[in-house]
């Protein structure tokens, strides 16, 4: 029984990572109808940007600031009148405020990156064959992967995580703080995405723009802006995913997402490409399924059964577990 729960917890932790990336895939599919093969690499690249801003920052090139030493955002301990402005510090000097700053800046960069990618690369192929946009995302995939390899080198680098203390003991199983954090973030993002699409006017506009651009324009929706927003937000979600995946998988490397992306796709499709809930549930289902196959069937069968099951489930439910049934277009 202990083994079962240990595998359950372990599968859920890995699955949360799949779910996070799947969430970004679902977001972009819902907002733009594009299956984005570059999602993983966009996440990887923005995570690398986060890595580079979390390194000691040389400020000596700003003469008037009078700073001629390195500033490390992660260990930055600002104080006002002796009162610490930072949240608790951790073993290797990381402060959570520093982490938060890095996170916010990185997500902002990813947001801009996503917007620019849509404007400059995806826009020209819009309104054509849907495969065109998919091939463009494949191009972005190759481009970003190679650029990261060129800029940062192929060797993995350690990545900061906000919670890295002892594992939390639930009695039946133990889970590392980081895994719990990832699960919580996945759940929060899932709810946020759901609320965005179902409860906000902007989300409704984004959905409408993806469904029928010209009718949306007649409703006063700037469809181009909606598509840009869709890519930007998906990139931001992907960036959060990347920043949680990197420390969970012992560091960041240009090939960080090779494995995750495929399982992320599987998770998104399993849950239904248009369902935020489906993405996270699908991710956890894939993760737990793999763990269970390893435990009770045999590890050689892990991929075979995982992907075989996905085909089988799709045959029964063609739009995934939580996806809306397809409307046949005449």
């Amino acid at each position: 029984m202990e083994t079962f729960f240990a595998q359950l917890a372990n599968g859920a932790s890995t699955g949360a990572l799949y779910g996070l990336l799947a969430l970004a895939l679902v977001f972009i599919f819902r907002a733009t109808d594009v299956v984005n093969f570059a999602q993983g690499e966009m996440a990887m690249f923005s995570t690398y940007l986060g890595w580079s801003i979390s390194r000691p920052l040389s400020l000596s090139w700003i003469p008037f600031l009078g700073v001629d030493r390195h500033l490390n955002l992660l260990t930055w301990r600002p104080e006002v009148f002796g009162l610490p402005l930072y949240l608790g510090s951790e073993n290797d000097g990381l402060t959570r405020l520093g982490y938060l700053v890095v996170l916010v800046v990185t997500v902002a960069i990813a947001f801009v990156m996503g917007a620019l990618i849509e404007r400059l690369l995806i826009r020209p192929s819009e309104g054509k064959n849907l495969l065109n946009a998919v091939i463009v995302t494949l191009g972005i995939f190759a481009f970003l992967n190679s650029l990261a390899n060129f800029r940062y080198g192929p060797v993995p680098q350690t990545y900061p995580a906000p919670f890295r203390g002892d594992a939390v003991d639930f009695g039946l199983f133990k889970m590392s703080q980081h895994s719990l954090f990832a699960l919580v973030v996945a759940a929060v993002l899932m709810i946020a995405v759901y609320v965005f699409f179902q409860r906000t006017k902007l989300g409704l506009g984004v959905r409408a723009a993806a469904l029928n651009p010209s009718a949306s324009q007649l409703m006063g929706i700037n469809t181009g802006r909606m598509l840009t927003l869709g890519w930007a937000l998906a990139a931001a979600i992907g960036c959060v995913a990347g920043m949680l995946i990197a420390p969970a998988l012992s560091g960041i490397s240009p090939n960080l997402m090779f494995g995750i992306l495929l399982y992320g796709f599987a998770a998104a499709v399993l849950g239904g490409l248009d369902s935020a809930l489906g993405a996270v549930v699908g991710g956890i289902a894939v993760g737990v399924g793999q763990s269970m196959v390893v435990q009770y069937v045999g590890s050689q069968w892990s991929d075979i059964i995982a992907f075989g099951l996905i085909i089988a489930i799709l045959m029964v439910r063609p739009t995934g577990l939580f996806g809306a049934p397809a409307v046949k277009k005449v």
Binding site: F29, V35, L116, R119, L120, L121, R123, P124, S125, K128, N129, L130, L131, N132, I135, V136, L138, G139, I140, F141, A142, F143, L144, N145, S146, L147, N149, F150, R151, L262, F265, A266, V269, L273, Q300, W301, S302, D303, I304, F307, G308, I310, I311, L314, M315, P318, T319, G320, A326, K328, K329, V330
Partner: protein, 486 residues
């Protein structure tokens, strides 16, 4: 985006947009950075300008010359026949054989994705099944290779029908991922302990390559070009590679002709009807499920032939050979680049599939700095082709085909003269700024920025034009062309 102007005669004409001008500038800059040594900067920069200008002129002339496609087909076939004597070495002949192999695979993808509109990412597994069955039968059981091929291709076709079953229920991305899952299951299956005795597990299976029958061998050896093939080993290789090349070529040509016929047959029209609207197709009396599964079956037939040819040419199968990117995703990408639902597109795609990585590798290894940027260059190429030529290379060729040389040349000149001196000054200034930025931010970011510039949509540049127009109200935008638009 191209600025395409519609003239009164209804012909769509190609007018280079400002972003294309920037593309040229970017190319010059890129070549300059690429070849840039300390002493030869000026020479290298100048020569790259010359190269770009020559390429531009050649391109304009080619458009005109490509007017009649039949001549090109005939010429192409004749050239294909003498490829072994054109190549400088056996390696190049071998690559041309593989062009035929992967053309077969891409033909198959074209049937299922191009004509019928069902995205399949599982074709790598089909090629693998075919190649593996042939390998197992011929090396483990000592079958005759051609007998093994018959079995391999038949079984693969059957598997194709099975792979088509999800297409009955699934659509779009769901089908893509389901077929992708099928491709992902294949390599771990090969490695299972249960099958290891047959499949050779991770070590894979070798096969001695097919050598030409005696008379053919001696003929080929005798007629090998003597300057390239001096010793006996090289001549033997020449005979072997040429023999395999002709077999692959024959398969490829048969594939091409059948694809061409298929495209115009009742089947082909039914496939297209299914792709365009299933409801409409049903109402026309087309049995949609039957045709969908048949499309997968036919496509698997091609993939089976590709697997057989793959086995002959590579003579080695291992689980790692059938990875997702190389045999499932890349062929699809190059199919779209070549041109979906056309006959010529897959041929262009197959050439691209084999030669683009080699050419890019050549460019990348000119300077040690760039060897890791091969992927970036490939990615950039995909993006540029897809955004500039949405119908693929073949679609682009078709489109410019109708235009005459004089008009095109005239347009280009007219375009150049319509720009004000201010425009050219601005362009020069922009080039200088880009160079300065490149110096300041370093190569990676320069490449990144250039990539963005190259694929930037037209209105980014016309936006810059708008700003200039504000400053210079007398300057009319494309005055004469606008007036022509009806």
């Amino acid at each position: 985006m191209h600025q395409t102007a519609h003239y009164r005669d209804g012909v769509e004409r190609f007018v280079p947009s400002p972003s294309e001008a920037v593309l040229l500038a970017a190319l010059v800059l890129f070549c300059w950075k690429l070849y840039g040594g300390t002493e030869n900067d000026a020479v290298a920069g100048l020569s790259s300008v010359v190269v770009v200008v020559v390429a531009w002129v050649v391109g304009v002339s080619l458009r005109a010359a490509l007017n009649d496609m039949r001549w090109w087909l005939l010429l192409g076939f004749l050239v294909a026949l003498i490829v072994p004597w054109l190549g400088a070495n056996t390696f190049q002949v071998g690559v041309m054989s593989q062009v035929c192999v992967f053309a077969l695979l891409i033909f198959g993808l074209n049937v299922v994705t191009g004509y019928t509109g069902q995205i399949s990412l599982g074709h790598g597994a089909l090629v693998g099944i075919s190649a593996y069955i042939i390998a197992i039968l011929s090396s483990n059981y000592g079958w005759n290779v051609f007998a093994a091929m018959t079995v391999g291709i038949s079984v693969t076709t059957a598997f194709g029908f099975v792979l088509g079953i999800p297409a009955l229920r699934l659509a779009g991305p769901y089908l893509a991922i389901a077929t992708l899952a099928a491709a992902l299951i294949f390599p771990p299956l090969l490695k299972l302990d249960t099958f290891e005795d047959y499949t050779g597990g991770i070590q894979g299976l070798h096969e001695t390559r097919l050598s030409p029958p005696g008379p053919i061998e001696s003929f080929l050896k005798e007629h090998a070009p003597s300057d390239a093939y001096q010793n006996d080993f090289q001549r033997r290789k020449f005979a072997e590679e040429s023999y395999l090349y002709y077999i692959s070529l024959a398969a490829g040509v048969v594939g091409l002709v059948t694809l061409w016929n298929l495209g115009r047959s009742r089947f082909g029209r039914a496939f297209v009807a299914v792709r365009d609207s299933e409801v409409a197709a049903t109402s026309m009396g087309i049995n949609v499920p039957l045709y969908k599964v048949t499309a997968f079956g036919i496509s698997a037939l091609y993939a089976g032939f590709a697997g057989a040819a793959f086995f002959l040419v590579i003579a080695f199968v291992a689980p790692e050979s059938f990875d997702l990117v190389n045999l499932s995703i890349n062929p699809l990408a190059y199919l779209v680049i070549g041109g979906l639902a056309t006959t010529g597109g897959p041929v262009v795609g197959a050439f691209g599939y084999m030669w683009v990585p080699r050419v890019i590798n050549k460019i990348a290894t000119v300077s040690g700095d760039f060897d890791k940027l091969q992927g970036a260059m490939t990615g950039l190429l995909l993006i540029v082709v897809m955004t500039r030529l949405p119908q693929g290379v073949w679609g682009g060729v078709r489109r410019v085909n109708a235009l005459s040389w004089q008009r095109l040349a005239g347009d280009s000149w007219a375009w150049a003269f319509q720009r004000s001196p201010l425009f050219w000054a601005g362009l020069a200034l922009a080039a200088v700024v880009v160079v300065l930025i490149a110096q300041f931010i370093g190569t990676v970011w320069a490449v990144f920025a250039l990539a963005l510039l190259i694929v930037a949509p037209h209105d980014v540049w016309s936006g810059a034009g708008d700003v200039l127009r504000r400053l210079n109200p007398g300057w009319k935008r494309n005055a004469s062309i606008q007036a022509d638009v009806t």
